[in-house]
């Protein structure tokens, strides 16, 4: 069986993921697994929620006991508070809000595993968040516009188009 990701190398890892009751089977090669940052028990370099959870219990700021797979990311650190990625892996908590920026490329698999999603869709602070609120409104209206056009409801579609223009103008004037 070929790896379902690259279709080139033979699939050597076979596992089943159950997230929120949804079952998915995966057949991938080790290379792609590492690239995707998949959690595979017993392989090096996999980012495992178990590491993270054990980090809650075994509080250790020294970061000395990291496994070989973590060595390459040892250099990665937050320039704001100095926390290294290896420390974060061990403790399971960020040191400051900038850690999210410095570890950004690494945390998607973790967030996906914990939450199922990686992007915030909830409340936005009124102060400083106004642009984002407008953008979200525009995105929503555009989606609705598409639906109306498909249903050939052109009158409503025209109203939506005008509203979108209005919002885009509003945004550019800010």
């Amino acid at each position: 069986m070929l790896c379902q990701e690259c279709q080139q190398r033979p699939a050597t890892l076979h596992f089943t993921k159950i997230i929120n009751g949804e079952k998915n089977e995966f057949h991938i090669c080790e290379h792609c697994a590492r690239e995707k940052g998949e959690m595979i028990p017993g392989t090096s370099g996999g980012f495992s929620i178990h590491n993270l959870l054990s980090g809650f219990l075994d509080f250790d700021m020294s970061g000395k006991t990291q496994s070989g797979g973590a060595a390459q990311s040892q250099q990665l650190h937050c320039e704001e508070c100095g926390m290294t990625y290896a420390q974060f892996r061990k403790i399971g908590r960020f040191g400051c809000s900038s850690c999210y920026k410095y570890f950004d490329g690494k945390i998607d698999p973790l967030l996906k595993r914990v939450h199922g999603g990686t992007v915030h869709v909830g409340k936005v602070p009124k102060r400083g968040g106004a642009d984002l609120q407008i953008q979200r409104e525009i995105d929503k209206l555009k989606q609705e516009l598409q639906e109306r056009i498909e249903k050939q409801e052109f009158e409503t579609a025209a109203q939506l188009r005008d509203r979108i223009r209005e919002l885009e103008l509003q945004r550019s004037q800010r």
Partner: protein, 354 residues
């Protein structure tokens, strides 16, 4: 600090109110995690930085009190050990804030329905407590408090990740909504395992009544959302309300089945517990929780008259170890506590009948 009002009464004023389905849902709680943009999280903050956080938040709360009503800031290091633990037993602060945090403080409203923890795992934990099944109401209050504080505090927020928190399990909305729910019939009919298992499949978790790692006591469970990122606050609250609504139905069904199929045995159990609570001279915490659960069920089923539910809620908190110490003064060992606990329950239950 003997004149510290927040640890004098076991029952917060808000607990005296009525809520929906209060025969099964004791209380609803919402907490939102927020952090200051410019300072490191409490995990790595220096003492000076932690102090800066405390001053900023307390300052903001003072300015916000016009909109939010009077708020009292309390520094935890100024309280006695017993007072600190009593705040935990009343759910006004978390065990982590009372035991592990530096420069820890809490800002409380007079009726104790609002508590803002400072320097817990995150800089701010805004918590709102409501009686009965009122998750939506608790969320609305919490978000309005958040709106007011936001005018004075620059929050750590990211367009993509939302509100940034120390632990990745809280990022996004920072919202943890939960209910404390009494499920004796599901426990007695051995259905609880199945129910709790199903709950965990739909993104919710079950904990004991004192949060993470604590054991379920007296058939009381705390059910909360697990996911904070990728769902809106409304979705999170609706999801929790929907699932808890179903659990309430299951519990009601289990109760009526128990009553129709083994009424005399259930009646015996309830009345036996009532008899023991009103006569026993030694009562450990675990037994008290279990017996009080039986009596609560008896009141719900109309078998025990004239016992207000608020009294049972009060007893649940009064019989916690630190509250006992607070009530009776002296430092006591476990067996003395068991005696005092029995005495206190006896007195309270008998007095309510007079």
């Amino acid at each position: 600090m003997s004149d510290f009002a927040f640890t004098e009464n076991a029952l917060s004023t808000w607990m005296r109110g009525e809520g929906r389905d209060s025969d099964i849902v004791i209380s609803s709680r919402v907490r939102i995690a927020r952090n200051l943009r410019s300072l490191p999280f409490p995990l790595v903050a220096s003492e000076e930085q932690a102090e800066q956080v405390r001053q900023t938040v307390i300052g903001a709360a003072e300015q916000a009190s016009e909109a939010l009503g009077p708020l009292q800031p309390v520094r935890l290091d100024e309280l006695s050990e017993v007072d600190r633990q009593v705040l935990v037993e009343k759910h006004l602060v978390s065990p982590a804030l009372a035991n592990e945090s530096q420069e820890a403080a809490v800002v409380l409203s007079a009726d104790e329905s609002l508590s803002i923890m400072v320097n817990e795992e995150d800089h701010l934990r805004i918590q709102c407590l409501y009686p009965g099944f009122q998750v939506k109401e608790a969320w609305e209050r919490a978000t309005s408090v958040d709106d007011v504080l936001e005018a004075y505090i620059d929050y750590a927020f990211d367009d993509r990740r939302g509100y940034l928190t120390s632990c990745p399990t809280n990022v996004g909305t920072g919202l943890r909504a939960s209910v404390m729910i009494h499920l004796p019939a599901l426990v007695m009919t051995h259905q609880i395992g199945r129910v709790l298992n199903a709950v965990s499949q739909v993104g919710l978790t079950v904990r004991g009544i004192y949060g993470e790692g604590s054991e379920a006591q007296g058939n009381l469970f705390q059910i909360s959302n697990q996911i904070t990122l990728g769902q809106s606050e409304k979705e999170i609250v609706d999801n929790l309300e929907g699932i808890v609504g179903q659990i309430i139905e299951y519990e009601r069904q289990a109760r009526s089945r128990l009553v129709s199929e083994s009424k005399i045995r259930l009646y015996d159990r309830v009345m036996r517990s009532y008899g023991i609570l009103t006569h026993a001279a030694i009562m450990d915490g675990k037994e008290a929780a279990q017996r009080l659960s039986d009596v609560r069920l008896g009141v719900d089923l109309g078998w025990i008259d004239g016992l207000p539910m608020t009294l049972l809620n009060e007893l649940t908190i009064l019989t916690q170890p630190n509250f006992l110490q607070k009530t009776f003064g002296a430092t006591m060992n476990t067996s003395e506590k068991d005696m005092y606990r029995a005495q206190l329950i006896r007195d309270k239950l008998v007095k309510s009948k007079e």
